[in-house]
């Protein structure tokens, strides 16, 4: 009964969404908005289908996703490893904590000019920017996760005579996992944004570059097709990570 009701509400909200698309169609065809700025939804859809069947949309999509995931995985590895080292050492937190907190509010995109100075407009620059930008939320979340472990658990591990790596693996990591996953979720959003920005700046083949070209040559259906596709990438990647998260954290007592 509950499930049936939830499905009913979902269908109703789907109808509302469809209604908004219809509204979009009429706003454009009635001439309220110029089709140069906002194409009718039908033409954006056609551009999307044509882009896949005849154009290079599939390749560009894969290039952007590949860049995003590669940079994000790099950031996850480095972020969690460094975060573990810092979070499990009181001295490291005391000496490094304030520095990390100082750097945290720095906009990630501000390092793009620095990365360009070092690496030029290259693929390495794109990956470096994505990885560096996505690194911070994961690093800080991991440090926080390890620092927030119940002190009693550490006392217990001392009483059991566990080694440092055993403490990290058996006690620290499981209790820091929710924080780490939250950091990875934020990191993934940042990775997608920076992948798009890096493609635009360095003219690397990908969706970010193709939407910029579409806007420059006033091909608004292609532009909106790309934007819709990027929205789907954002949605699917976040949903996939959320599903993974619930599986991984199933052992936790819900509260």
């Amino acid at each position: 009964m509950m499930a049936l009701r939830a499905t009913g509400w979902f269908l109703a909200s789907l109808v509302v969404g469809a209604g908004l698309v219809v509204l979009w169609h009429y706003v454009v065809s009635a001439g309220f908005v110029s089709p140069v700025f906002l194409p009718p939804p039908g033409r954006a859809w056609t551009a999307l289908v044509n882009g896949f069947t005849r154009g290079a949309l599939a390749e560009q999509l894969l290039a952007t996703i590949g860049r995003m995931i590669y940079g994000w995985l790099l950031a996850s590895l480095v972020g969690v490893a460094l975060g573990t080292l810092i979070g499990t050492s009181r001295a490291a937190i005391v000496y490094l904590g304030p520095t990390l907190e100082m750097i945290r509010p720095l906009p990630a995109s501000a390092i793009i000019p620095v990365a360009i100075a070092f690496l030029g407009l290259t693929e390495q620059m794109a990956i470096a920017v994505i990885a560096f930008g996505a690194l911070w939320p994961m690093l800080l979340a991991t440090v926080h996760g390890f620092a927030a472990v119940e002190p009693q658990l550490y006392e217990l591990s001392r009483a059991l005579g566990l080694k440092r790596w055993e403490v990290i693996l058996k006690i620290g990591l499981p209790s820091a996992m929710p924080d780490i996953l939250a950091g990875m979720r934020v990191g993934l959003t940042i990775a997608l944004i920076l992948a798009i920005v890096a493609e635009m700046l360095a003219s690397r083949p990908g969706l970010g570059h193709s939407v910029l070209l579409a806007a420059r040559s006033f091909r608004s259906p292609d532009l909106y097709a790309g934007v819709i596709l990027l929205g789907i990438v954002g949605y699917v990647s976040a949903a996939a990570l959320a599903a993974f998260e619930t599986r991984l954290l199933r052992w936790r007592v819900p509260h």
Partner: protein, 260 residues
């Protein structure tokens, strides 16, 4: 994420590593004094920053970035708050809008740069539009949760008193949800600065982001790095001021309560 960060007191020890790094970089620069297109000595960075502050170029660029970020923030917070309160009050409306909101929300802000460029051209308006779009969502989601979490008896009281919608929102809902709405505002402010700088670095010839790109392209690493440090300071100061305001206005309860 780590407002409740471990209460370890760093004191002077927190300054050892940054100060040490700056001193080391300066010594290295003195030991090998050649021109570089990529790096600059800390002293040169400081001089470039001080020069830009005195001749007004950095001040003007800072003003442009902050105007764009704050104008976008004002629009985003306004729209997000209106929809957040409406959806928080009406469960039916909330469920009906779920699909639409969840499909538009994940569109990455950077993907809207070309759209906004096409509609507005270069300038403040395109940047403000993107900042507004990006700040609507955190405010909408958090204020919706805040309003939906208001004690039901308060709403019953307002019904007994015969309040209309405007009075109910103004006298009951906003005061009750204010601590959590402020947290949303603080998060949105951080996002506004990040998005404004991103738009400037990518496309818009305005503000600090563009200043950094221009300094990089004219091979002036000292100015580029000075702007980077300056941006970090602005981000840090903005966050510190809002955290302080949150703590003095609402006390520590607001921070603990505001976990979405």
């Amino acid at each position: 994420m780590s407002e409740a960060a471990p209460a370890l007191r760093s004191g002077w020890r927190g300054a050892v590593i940054p100060v040490g790094a700056v001193v080391l970089a300066q010594l290295l620069a003195l030991a090998s004094p050649q021109q570089s297109d990529i790096l600059a000595a800390p002293l040169d960075i400081f001089l470039a920053g001080a020069g830009g502050l005195f001749d007004g170029t950095i001040v003007a660029a800072t003003g442009q970035t902050l105007i764009a970020a704050l104008a976008g923030l004002a629009i985003g917070v306004g729209v997000g708050l209106i929809f957040g309160i409406l959806l928080g009050l009406s469960g039916v409306l909330d469920r009906l809008m779920t699909f639409s909101i969840e499909t538009v929300r994940p569109v990455p802000s950077a993907a809207l740069i070309p759209v906004s460029l096409l509609v507005f051209g270069f300038g403040f308006r395109m940047e403000i539009a993107i900042v507004a779009f990006s700040t609507i969502w955190p405010v909408l989601i958090l204020s919706r949760a805040a309003v939906a979490g208001i004690e039901h008896r308060l709403l019953e009281v307002s019904r007994v008193l015969g309040f209309g919608l405007v009075e109910r929102v103004w006298k009951i809902i906003i005061p009750a949800a204010l601590p959590r709405i402020f947290v949303a505002f603080r998060l949105a402010t951080g996002i506004a600065l990040i998005v404004a700088v991103t738009v400037e670095v990518t496309a818009n010839p305005l503000g600090l982001g563009h200043g950094m790109m221009a300094a990089q392209q004219s091979l002036n690493p000292a100015l580029m790095l000075a702007l980077l440090v300056w941006l970090g300071l602005i981000g840090w100061a903005l966050n510190a001021v809002l955290l302080w305001a949150q703590r003095t206005l609402f006390g520590p309860a607001a921070i603990a309560e505001a976990r979405p």
